[in-house]
């Protein structure tokens, strides 16, 4: 059932994290990311633009990260969008950031959760899942100054881009955005992923 699969995902995520021998110091990671955000702010001087740039950077990372992730985890296709959410939270986030956000699903439930054929995926566009992060290694030690709060900066917006980029490479067009962030004084840090549509595999057009 769903619960067993969930435990399996947790176990896979844990294994992947442990099997990575090249880990870096989290302070160095947080400091590097923080320096990057501060530099972007100085360069662009517009918080909406900084959000966009962070997302773009994330997108570039995500499109390449997915290959590494799939190779290491050797997980097959997800049968529905709900499963996507589970895998992202329990295996994806765990193996790269060593955190496991909680997932809340919503949107029309899929007609069948059993994979009938390998190619067909079920899941209704408009389905969403929300990831609630109770810790965020990117934002360790960060305190946003007032201008950043007023300007609407999403400090960890790179994560949205990573999710968008990686899911696009597995044929899902999604919209990813922050709903709240404890750095802004909100109660929790939440990212919402909305399925826009499935991307059909395109047959390359012959030039001759």
């Amino acid at each position: 059932m769903m619960a067993t699969t969930s435990k399996q995902y947790k176990a896979i995520g844990e294994d992947l994290w442990k099997s990575r021998t090249d880990k870096i110091n989290s302070e160095l990671f947080a400091l590097t990311y923080g320096a990057l955000v501060v530099q972007l702010i100085q360069d662009y001087e517009d918080y909406a633009e900084v959000n966009k740039q962070l997302e773009k950077m994330g997108y570039n990372i995500g499109t390449r990260l997915i290959e590494d992730f799939l190779a290491r985890s050797s997980l097959g296709r997800c049968s529905d969008f709900r499963e996507v959410g589970e895998v992202v939270a329990k295996v994806g986030f765990k193996s790269f950031l060593n955190i496991t956000p909680t997932v809340t699903h919503s949107g029309a439930p899929p007609p069948s959760s059993r994979p009938t054929s390998a190619a067909k995926q079920s899941g209704v566009p408009g389905s969403t899942f929300i990831l609630t992060l109770d810790e965020n290694p990117l934002a360790e030690f960060v305190e946003l100054p007032d201008e950043a709060l007023e300007g609407g900066l999403w400090f960890s917006n790179v994560l949205c881009g990573v999710l968008r980029g990686s899911l696009e490479m597995v044929q899902m067009q999604v919209q990813v955005e922050f709903l709240s962030d404890v750095l802004r004084g909100d109660e929790s840090t939440e990212i919402r992923v909305t399925l826009l549509k499935y991307l059909e595999e395109e047959v390359p057009v012959g030039d001759d």
């Binding site: 302070e27 947080a30 400091l31 923080g34 320096a35 955000v37 501060v38 360790e140 030690f141 960060v142 305190e143 946003l144 100054p145 950043a148």
Partner: protein, 180 residues
């Protein structure tokens, strides 16, 4: 009984300052002389004058402290800063000889004692206080040091510029309340 904390960068620019009024009772004995003194002698200099006239400084400090709290104001603030600045020379001398971080009672100015704490990065924490409270002050300095480290790691903070973080301020005050 008040305490004045100053954080200075290696180039002696002020990074942060705090005045803390402790609710803890001072250890000095209550004075019978203080009630005889005129209430208008409220500035910190009054302590100097009466000390010169031979009265015991312990009793003066208790009364003068009460007086200066009532008056408050810029006059005392300037004296405090003068004392802090004057102690910098002494601190630098001691710094060269000793490698310990916490220096107690570096300097004494009438009722005010100056204790200092030098971080490995050459930040100077200076505390002006009236009563002897070495353990409390050492713990307080260590707390401030940890809070300072956390503030330094905030990417939005620029090194050696004044600390404006409200979180830092709140926590330093809480620590002062706990130890001083």
């Amino acid at each position: 009984m008040s305490h004045h904390l100053f954080l200075l960068s290696p180039s002696d620019t002020p990074i942060y300052s705090l005045t803390h009024y402790s609710t803890k009772l001072p250890q000095s004995t209550s004075s019978s002389l203080s009630s005889n003194l005129p209430t208008w002698s409220t500035s910190a200099f009054a302590g100097t004058l009466t000390a010169l006239s031979g009265a015991s400084s312990a009793t003066q400090s208790h009364h003068v402290q009460g007086g200066s709290v009532r008056m408050g104001g810029g006059q005392d603030r300037h004296v405090i800063q003068m004392i802090a600045n004057a102690s910098l020379d002494v601190i630098e001398d001691v710094m060269r000889k000793e490698s310990a971080m916490y220096m107690k009672s570096v300097d004494k100015f009438n009722e005010w004692t100056v204790s200092a704490f030098i971080t490995p990065g050459n930040m100077k924490f200076i505390l002006l206080h009236e009563t002897k409270n070495d353990d409390g002050i050492r713990s307080f300095f260590h707390d401030v040091w940890e809070l300072y480290l956390k503030t330094m790691l905030n990417p939005f903070h620029t090194a050696h510029s004044p600390i404006r973080s409200i979180v830092f301020d709140t926590r330093v005050r809480a620590s002062a309340k706990k130890y001083l």
